[in-house]
Symmetry: C2
Subunit: 252 residues, 2 copies
């Protein structure tokens, strides 16, 4: 049975702890959090601490804190010859202050208080030696059906791609929502369209599924639509429209 200690009870940490606790082939040996109050409710399920001096022995230490704090926490941990991993998409593995290190990055957008089915979450793993990579693969396979070995450079690029398809897509949804709300149109009308937009690109590259005024370089509609937008929306509209026009100019 793999013994795990999780450091940090933020968005990623809390969801990870939830799935580790529910798995009978994993021993969640301890949870650390700076503020002990936030993890007191876990006490009936596993030992907790807010002191690095009290950290127990385990096979894998998962540092699930914000990017800026990974280095500090890693130094404070003082772990020798045990695997220490972080859970960040954008931080290099080598920031970890340990001879055996790795990354265990669940690529998903977590919402506090909303349970998530880990079985479909892609886990991106990396380690600085082969046996630890095998250990992380074993751990990953216990909680998800999708694990991928990515090095730090690939992971950073994927994290960047995720900013576009997740964070930025969500802001476009927000703009669509706002336009609907201001005109008393139910936003739900757009749900099937949004679903089909996503479904399409599972079968064909998004380059081939593009539609709309920018794809057609339909200047008349573009001008009409620009006139209906706020200044910030216009900037977004134009940056995307110009990029689409240029993309298809080059692709014929």
């Amino acid at each position: 049975m793999i013994e795990i200690i999780v450091i940090g009870y933020g968005n990623v940490g809390s969801h990870l702890i939830e799935v580790l606790l529910s798995n009978t082939s994993i021993n969640l040996k301890q949870v650390y959090n700076r503020s002990i109050e936030k993890i007191e409710h876990l006490l009936s399920k596993c030992p907790i601490t807010n002191s690095f001096d009290e950290i127990l022995e385990a096979d894998v230490y998962i540092i699930a804190v914000s990017d800026d704090e990974i280095s500090t926490v890693s130094k404070a941990l003082k772990i020798d010859n045990k695997l220490v991993v972080h859970t960040s998409g954008s931080v290099d593995m080598n920031i970890l202050n340990s001879n055996r290190k790795g990354v265990f990055y669940p690529l998903q957008t977590f919402t506090k208080n909303k349970s998530i089915d880990f079985s479909n979450i892609p886990l991106c793993i990396e380690a600085n030696n082969d046996s630890d990579l095998i250990l992380l693969e074993k751990l990953a396979s216990k909680i998800s059906n999708n694990s991928f070995i990515l090095d730090s450079c690939q992971r950073k690029k994927m994290h960047l791609a995720a900013v576009f398809v997740n964070n930025f897509a969500n802001h476009l949804y927000h703009i669509g929502y706002t336009i609907c709300e201001e005109n008393t149109v139910p936003f739900e009308i757009l749900h099937p369209l949004m679903e089909e937009t996503l479904n399409k690109i599972k079968g064909i590259p998004p380059l081939d599924s593009q539609t709309g005024p920018a794809k057609r370089n339909d200047q008349k509609t573009i001008t009409l639509q620009l006139g209906q937008l706020s200044e910030a929306q216009q900037k977004i509209y134009m940056s995307l429209t110009n990029s689409i026009i240029n993309t298809y100019k080059n692709h014929g």
Copy 2:
């Protein structure tokens, strides 16, 4: 039984004809297309023509041609006292040259040669008199479970919202795809994230589900990520990032 004539065999027209033909309580009385070759294969299922002089009598005439041609086609039709509708998201109903007019706009992104389940497609309808609105509601209910009465102004705004959540979201998917491809990361890793991004906003407004560096105003990550992008991608990145930062500045 409602008698329908469809004018035009483009993306919307061809999908509409497919669903009308499959419906036993609708009589697709005739299909018009400028180029007769493109609709010859329909001949075994319904009469076809490429001459406005040969157009038959029916209850509803559906003009499914490109936005720029709606007015010309409507004038060429010479229909008296029958309901004439177009299928466009952005064109005003009043462009139609007919005393009984309306709109029958299926809000979906259609792909040639890809069948679509109409039962979930929102149909946005409008008519210039109550009895024709009822007729359109009846027609809509035969092919979809979702019909909405929107006036021309609301429909135009919803079409604008659709450009953001469909066309622009698809281009963000394209950028994510490109970044993955250039770094030999399988784009499929991002699919569950994209699904969750969409699922979230069915339960809560997108304003509340925003995450990422821009939401946190994390200038360090923003600068790092900008440095990895092409010029066109940088413009998109900054327009969205600035808009997100300003959105949450105002919302605390």
